[in-house]
Symmetry: D2
Subunit: 214 residues, 4 copies
Amino acid sequence: MKVVVNLKAYPCDSVEVATAARDVSEESGVPIAVAPQAAHLERVAETGVETWAQHVSPVEHGSHTGSTLAEAAAEAGATGTMLNHSERRLKLADIDTALAAAERVGLETCICANNPDQIGAVAGLGPDAVAVEPPELIGTGTPVSKADPDIVTDAVAAAEDADDSVAVYCGAGISTGEDLTAAQELGAEGVLLASGVAKADDPKAALEDLVAPL
Amino acid sequence: MKVVVNLKAYPCDSVEVATAARDVSEESGVPIAVAPQAAHLERVAETGVETWAQHVSPVEHGSHTGSTLAEAAAEAGATGTMLNHSERRLKLADIDTALAAAERVGLETCICANNPDQIGAVAGLGPDAVAVEPPELIGTGTPVSKADPDIVTDAVAAAEDADDSVAVYCGAGISTGEDLTAAQELGAEGVLLASGVAKADDPKAALEDLVAPL
Amino acid sequence: MKVVVNLKAYPCDSVEVATAARDVSEESGVPIAVAPQAAHLERVAETGVETWAQHVSPVEHGSHTGSTLAEAAAEAGATGTMLNHSERRLKLADIDTALAAAERVGLETCICANNPDQIGAVAGLGPDAVAVEPPELIGTGTPVSKADPDIVTDAVAAAEDADDSVAVYCGAGISTGEDLTAAQELGAEGVLLASGVAKADDPKAALEDLVAPL
Amino acid sequence: MKVVVNLKAYPCDSVEVATAARDVSEESGVPIAVAPQAAHLERVAETGVETWAQHVSPVEHGSHTGSTLAEAAAEAGATGTMLNHSERRLKLADIDTALAAAERVGLETCICANNPDQIGAVAGLGPDAVAVEPPELIGTGTPVSKADPDIVTDAVAAAEDADDSVAVYCGAGISTGEDLTAAQELGAEGVLLASGVAKADDPKAALEDLVAPL
């Protein structure tokens, strides 16, 4: 199982969460990546944690003011990126181009989508992973694995149909070790989480609890 | 006169340009800011140059994956930001909210617009500066001060009508000291430029040439 | 006072509302326009009511699949259009271009905005009218004239500063004759309303009530 | 083979093209649909031709000013719709929701995409048809079947892998009967075309030439 911690635009201390993630990852052997604001990529990467961008733009070098260039993210230390998060939905053509941009600089990629149909669609584009996150569960604390386990198994089936080398991650409402185990049993190979760690009083304890069952 | 160098998503060495800008600014006394990719804000700020964001998002702390949070830009060292660049046009309501976000963290602000009418519109929102950049001249090497000087004088008049404390900058096609002087004579108090410095073989020499007449 | 009834994407009978508006307008002498879905412009215009588009695109004739071309709206019978409604916010540059498109075919124009600052901004672009609609009041049934009368007077002042030939309309929460009178007393020259008429059991009675005080 | 004529925002007489399409369809037995501006749906449908929307919005009845509600398009006479045309690209989640909107009112659906990968992605969502239109060929007069026949065969294969009940149409550069035959030989079951008919001096002759080989 892989864990990606999305810091969104939360008022958390990105270096504190990154340091906790690095330590828990080293201690547990579970790969944990942290995805901060683009402006914080460098300080997060300096902790030694696996660092992901929250998004990269569907552009190449050129006149693209205000974009998030994959090359710049990689130079700042990112080794992976989410794409099409429900808070940063992209046009289909732009998912395709942003994926190519990420691959151009060797970023690991995880494309998010709402439901099994869309998971099948994006898995066919060939990312490293896809993440199913029903929008209605994001930020609720109710894990998709409990609220609607069929969404996870259907997503796993849809991704496999499209391209069986694509891993399926599970997002929305994940916060405990039990949630993570439930996701794993449904076929997920990773989890995306956010507030459960980023807003925790003690991010390290939250991460330790999360990976304890593994 | 103030100079803002927009590095866009150019394949330039942002630290090299930043260092050149810092040195030329110190030697000449002309304020020169450099606006890199968000992921490069920290390394640019570390050179000591005045550092600007290319854009900040119309959001506060919260669930805004893939945004450019003003707080994060400021923490990375930005002290100013462009808004509504022609390559990153915003909805009017979002210009208003992004301006409030920038002001919330004390960023100096410069809102770009296409023509004098739009300059009047955005000046009324109360930024520190507005920049008139006719889209058809961006990247051409033909300065607006030559191609159509009335645009600059009309923009200055429109901004003054709306709010006479707002400075007017001039963008699009500026690259030489002569261009800068011409802009100044038309009433501009600053210039935005990009490829003329960022793509120059010798960015320092380009900046020295630019500020020489001042 | 002018009344614009926005049918949005409501499940109302657009011809029934249009017929009621036509009749009440003729009986009362108060100008009442109805703004249906683009696909219903023709059937609404055939009733003889003043017909408005809800939006026109910032384009000219050409390769713009899925746009709402001002020419097509006019050919279908529209004589006016809203622009930048809070449910269809536009980039500032696109407000400017869409306004030009509407003027190109002689449509009366009303640009919506959230607050007095934005009202000042769009009034400067020179439309026939602007409409202030605080987003937090839309659909609440609480008229802006009661919830926050200063917004209306400030919007009137801001528009006058920018261009004193631009009329100010008042939207959000207007449904009764009392609301309309209150808006008028604050300086508004028109009202935008939607659910109060479009979702009324008897749209004609709702409109008669609305214009009764005039 | 099915023919869909996209009138975009062209300055053509939509009723003249519709009448020609109706007549040629009746004479030849080839199904020909015409997709006008939303504001022209009603007048086009009144000719008796098969009428398509160029786009429908990913919304249901409600507060969606300026949208193109599927219900309104159907009430105006549309029996089909394009989605995600390269001039009206949608977010993936919105393609999914707009498709559901179109199906809710019984519209035939054709989702456009740039390349075989994206065709596979959208075919998996279950529309009636998908259309491959390489953006670089749109409006060139060079048919994709000549410029790059592999794109068509790869698109047909990708769609079949995803859902073998989905028809593949071929767009971009189609204008003659020869182009249509070439598309058919590569596995396409329909064509999208635009300027070749809409801008023809004699649309009826252009359509007759198009369907002659069938």
